[in-house]
Amino acid sequence: MDIYLLEAILNGILLGGVLALLALGLNLIFGVIDVVWIAYADLVMCGMYLIYYLYAEFNWPFLLACVAAIAFVGVLGILVHVMIIAPILGTAPINQLLATGGLLFFLQSFATLLFGTDFRNIGVRLPIIRFDSIYISSARLLAFTVAVAGAVALYFFLKRTFVGTAIRAIAQDRDIVGLMGVDQRHIYLVTSAIGGALAGLAACLLILQYDVHPFIGNTFGPLIFMICVLGGLGDMIGGFVAAFLMSQIIAIGGYYFSTELSYVFAFTFFIVLMFLRPHGVLSR
């Protein structure tokens, strides 16, 4: 096989890891408790800016900056729930999409106002792994590993712990779960905090590969929503499969054609699959 094609496929797998990591928290919020945060990728952007400032401007150690970012975006997640989602939880679901759409505008513009439109880079470059004549970015390998670990941890958390079970129960019926002795407000808060923290985790790994700018959310936002839907909402394994399908289309399409066309293929693939398999790629 063509060595460059092989490299494209390998990098596609690693891009899939990045996308799967981004989709992880969204799959918990959107997939499991069925709340739409259209501004999810912009919360990741907030985390990236925090790490950039703590690490590059205030000289914190990188790992400490990461912990701070995870906590910060976790708190942002709680704020999004309390201030935006909770008041409209009982109304038509489309309102959640529209209200968090307002949040998307707010976060992007506020970031522009505070930080300008410059692309900022923390200046940390992880080494490139050379494997025969194939080059692999170790930052992507790390993101891939964390995504796998995160998905497994989330899976067991949802299946094996009381809070996880309560989260799955609230997804099935928001009202009945109260009769079973679960405080819904508490569970929504916990889930939003975890979802936000996962966005913060994604920010830690993205900052190693991408420059941060106010509109970085637009690069990933639509894609990760589609991955959650393609994988079947709330299905962590399906989400992984969908992330890899999309990233392979993007990688191979980009190799044979151009980057833009590869995204055209990916989005068309999403539309077609929505018609063919509306409950996810792995659904029966």
Partner: protein
């Protein structure tokens, strides 16, 4: 009342500066596009991909004009036809397979991205992200190009009135009851004999066709097209949000949305200069969140409610 409004709008070009003329044309054109969106949006079919129709409507006549010398009088109907085909290709399977709510929003979002990225990808023909400039020939009815703003003011005004007329036509038509029923409960609507797919397709096609027409005239007026500004995700979202802020369920709501968002943008730009890039959208974003939470019927909707209640603000 209407006569006074018409007279006022007709005398405006004589008294205002070109800059305000430009703003007025923008408000009328965008007001028309927002109204077109709300023709389907008001029934709960929230499309996040109207940039697709606008982009097709704008690019087809411009490309035909530059490469083949085809007059926009033919190019614009062709662009609208293509937008309608696109609406049918996406709309039919969506409605057939009951892709609704935020799933429908995501499918249309993907459609908008497909069109925008296709325009960028075909950069040899369309100029890609650098944009596309139709060949200018000066004053010409054949090319539908007028250096004087007053012509486009009249065109935009006519378009806007036309858009309102279509809005009322849909509102008063028999299909309106059917669509209301569908937006309440599709299954129940189908059991009382409503052809759900046909009714939904009808408003979708009307909405897409008008949006494409708006895109075409916008292109003819601006004489510059850019995939981001006529077709990107930002445009699609801008259409949705401006319509909602103004009021999706009333005829004048989307126009008020256009008036408010464009004046806010320009006002802040003039007040703060370019030092505060993003200030307008920051305020805009906060307003959107507040609107959805506290007055989902928009400004005009709220005023209507208030007049009915005799201006008492109902406690939440």
């Amino acid at each position: 009342m209407l006569a006074i409004l018409l007279a006022a709008l007709a005398t405006l070009p004589q008294v205002v500066a070109p800059y305000f003329m430009h703003l007025l044309i923008q408000i009328l054109l965008w007001g028309f596009v927002y109204t077109s969106w709300s023709i389907m949006g008001r029934f709960g079919f929230v499309s996040l991909g109207h940039g697709a129709f606008m982009g097709v409507g704008a690019y087809v006549p411009a490309l035909l004009w530059n490469y083949f010398g085809v007059t926009p009088w033919i190019g614009i109907p062709l662009g609208i036809s293509l937008a309608v085909v696109l609406a049918l290709v996406i709309g039919y399977p969506c409605f057939r397979l009951k892709v609704v709510g935020h799933y429908f929003a995501l499918v249309t979002l993907a459609l908008g991205q497909v069109v925008m990225l296709s325009i960028v990808a075909a950069r040899d023909v369309t100029g890609g992200s650098l944009g596309f400039t139709p060949k200018a020939v000066g004053y010409s009815w054949f090319a539908l190009q007028f250096p004087q703003k007053v012509y486009f003011y009249v065109i935009a005004l006519a378009l806007w009135f036309g858009g309102l007329a279509v809005w009322y036509w849909v509102d008063r038509g028999i299909g309106r009851e059917a669509l209301d029923a569908i937006s309440e409960d599709e299954e129940a609507a189908a059991t009382i004999g409503i052809n759900v797919i046909r009714e939904k397709l009808r408003v979708t096609v009307i909405s897409a066709a008008l949006t494409a027409l708006g895109g075409a005239i916008y292109g003819q007026y601006m004489m510059y097209l850019n995939p981001e500004t006529v077709s990107g995700i930002a445009v699609s979202l801008q259409i949705v949000f401006a319509a909602i802020v103004g009021g999706t369920y009333t005829a004048l709501g989307p126009t008020v949305g256009a008036l408010l968002t464009i004046s806010l943008n320009e006002g802040l730009r003039v007040a703060f200069g370019t030092n505060f890039i993003g200030a307008a959208n920051t305020i805009y974003g906060v307003l959107l969140v507040l609107f959805i939470i506290f007055m989902p019927r928009g400004i005009v909707g709220m005023i209507e409610d208030a007049t009915k209640r005799g201006w008492r603000i109902k406690p939440l």
